[in-house]
């Protein structure tokens, strides 16, 4: 009997570990999908791919496969968790299943759309399905990761858990950025459908939504680990690396801007330093001004297309993107700086309120 109990207990431990690993893999899968998606957008701008079967689509669907397999493992391991732990993660598991169902369904839907209407724009029903599924999966998995490793995350020392939570945060940041791009970039005017957002709406939305998102994710990165310096800096820097790899390095005309782009590490690290050193809540909130005001630099080069529609009205050729971006900087930055800074503060307040709920404290 004792041996049997030991076996069950060991098996439960294994399941518990498996649940955590599969949650990370779900986030990792979504991260791969977002990388493929971002590369796909750049590929469309540069090469106009004429077939569904392109390398970025392959990456994207490899990500979907990883997410699908991990979700299945997550579900079966969750079923074998202890009742108390099981109920803590129930909502996340359901959301992940709903997310993967939408994500998997988006594949054939996308193929059907390409087959019937040719190349689709950025904002199309199958793409919206895909992104919604990604956001559901990544948010649910990030919550699972944080709840599972909460005790270790708030300890005074760095553990591997601190670094694993980065995957979850990055997946949420990139998938939500994808959704925001869909509602702001003018890439959705196709032969059969005109889904481009209104230009003024797109600019206003970009100016509020992106700084809000960036500062809230960086704030969460810091608050999940009890304001230890480092994790927010890593999350922000990895975002810059991924964006540079998929949007800048692919376009040979933008490669000279790489140094300029990576200066973005400075405000990210400063924000992290402020969060880890300022104990007063109000000061922490106000520090959201920094990632808020810098979003115009973090989201280079794609953001150029949105602001060009209102401020420049040129054809944004891949070879001209940097020139148009820097030409607009002088007129755009003074207009967006204050609303973006306020959105950054709102992002930190939102993240602060969400931290408790996400951690389940």
């Amino acid at each position: 009997m004792a041996i049997l109990e030991k076996t069950i207990s060991f098996t439960r431990k294994q399941h518990s570990w498996l649940f955590f690993v599969s949650s990370i893999l779900v986030s990792f899968g979504v991260l791969i999908v977002t990388i493929g998606g971002s590369w796909d957008v750049t590929n469309h701008l540069l090469n106009r791919p004429e077939t569904f079967f392109s390398p970025p689509h392959a990456i994207l669907y490899i990500g979907v496969a990883i997410t699908l397999a991990s979700t299945m493992i997550k579900f079966f391991s969750w079923k074998n968790l202890q009742d108390k732990t099981k109920s803590q993660h129930a909502k996340q598991v359901k959301l992940t299943i709903l997310g993967i169902a939408i994500l998997v369904g988006a594949g054939p839907f996308d193929f059907f759309w390409h087959y019937n209407f040719g190349l689709d724009g950025l904002l199309s029903p199958p793409h919206l399905f895909l992104i919604s599924g990604m956001i559901l999966c990544s948010t649910a998995s990030m919550t699972s990761i944080v709840r599972y490793s909460n005790k270790k995350l708030i300890s005074n020392f760095y553990t591997p858990f601190h670094f694993l939570v980065i995957v979850g945060l990055l997946a949420v940041l990139l998938s939500t950025s994808g959704l925001f791009y869909s509602f702001s970039l003018p890439f959705s005017d196709t032969e059969h459908f005109e889904f481009n957002p209104d230009q003024i709406f797109a600019v206003a939305f970009t100016t509020i939504a992106f700084p809000f998102l960036f500062s809230s994710i960086l704030y969460l990165s810091s608050s999940f680990v009890n304001r230890k310096f480092g994790i927010a800096s890593i999350v922000g820097t990895l975002f810059l690396i991924i964006n540079a790899s998929t949007s800048i390095a692919q376009n040979s005309f933008l490669i000279p801007t790489t140094g300029f782009y990576f200066l973005g590490v400075i405000p990210i690290v400063i924000f992290d330093v402020m969060l880890s050193n300022f104990s007063k809540r109000k000061l922490q909130y106000v520090s959201g001004v920094i990632p808020g005001m810098c979003f115009y630099f973090f989201y280079f080069p794609l953001i150029t297309h949105t602001y060009n529609e209102v401020f420049s009205h040129q054809i944004v050729w891949p070879s001209m993107t940097a020139l148009i971006y820097f030409e607009m900087l002088e007129s755009v930055f003074p207009i967006i700086a204050i609303p973006a800074a306020l959105a950054g503060i709102l992002g930190t307040i939102f993240a602060s309120k969400s931290t408790q709920k996400l951690r389940l404290i």
Partner: protein
């Protein structure tokens, strides 16, 4: 004291960051000379005279001898035709994008404005194009043409690189203008009764 030091470091770093990104670095990118791509092409006509019912081959080799750019288009127009149908067949093609068939009446860009100024196509054409286009890139298109009437069969060829900011971005740079207000090189084949 530690707090004061921290405030100083944060302030100096932020001033440095915003100075670099708003004032110091942008002029470096704005002052860069604009790229000057330069298209050319070579045309090989297999025959100058044929009998009705026979066909001839035309090969166009398109080059970019200038800077890199976004798109290079080689356009081959058929002023004698109202439809391409079976008269023209593509026998060779290595441009990176699929060829685009322009039909009579289609809206097409004019005066090198990249589609910002449109006119209706007066005769059919085939547009071969690659994107992006690097210095020294060379692409080929070969056509087999079987005219369906006796007389002089005319073919216009031109190449345009986009974005088009200087006269160097099109070839030829003088000569005959087509209905798009763009320069073309004209080639002809005499078609006679057998």
């Amino acid at each position: 004291m530690r707090k004061l030091f921290l405030y100083c470091v944060i302030s100096v770093s932020l001033i440095a960051y915003f100075s670099l990104t708003l004032f110091v670095l942008p002029p470096n990118f704005l002052e860069k000379p604009k790229l000057v791509p330069q298209p050319t092409f070579d045309v090989t006509l297999e025959k100058l005279k044929i009998n009705l019912g026979e066909s001839f081959e035309i090969k166009v080799t398109s080059n970019n001898i200038g800077d890199s750019a976004d798109i290079q288009i080689a356009s081959i127009q058929f002023p004698n035709l109202t439809e391409i149908n079976e008269t023209v067949k593509i026998t060779e093609y290595d441009f990176t994008q699929s060829p685009h068939y322009v039909l009579v009446g289609d809206p097409v860009g004019s005066e090198y404005t990249a589609g910002q100024k449109l006119v209706a196509a007066k005769y059919p054409s085939i547009e071969a194009y690659s994107r992006p286009i690097n210095t020294g890139d060379q692409y080929h298109i070969g056509l087999q043409v079987m005219p369906d009437s006796v007389g002089t069969f005319i073919i216009h060829v031109k190449s345009v690189i986009l974005p088009h900011y200087t006269d160097s971005a099109h070839y030829p740079q003088s000569g005959n203008l087509d209905y798009q207000g763009e320069y073309v090189e004209a080639y002809s084949v005499e078609v006679s009764n057998p």
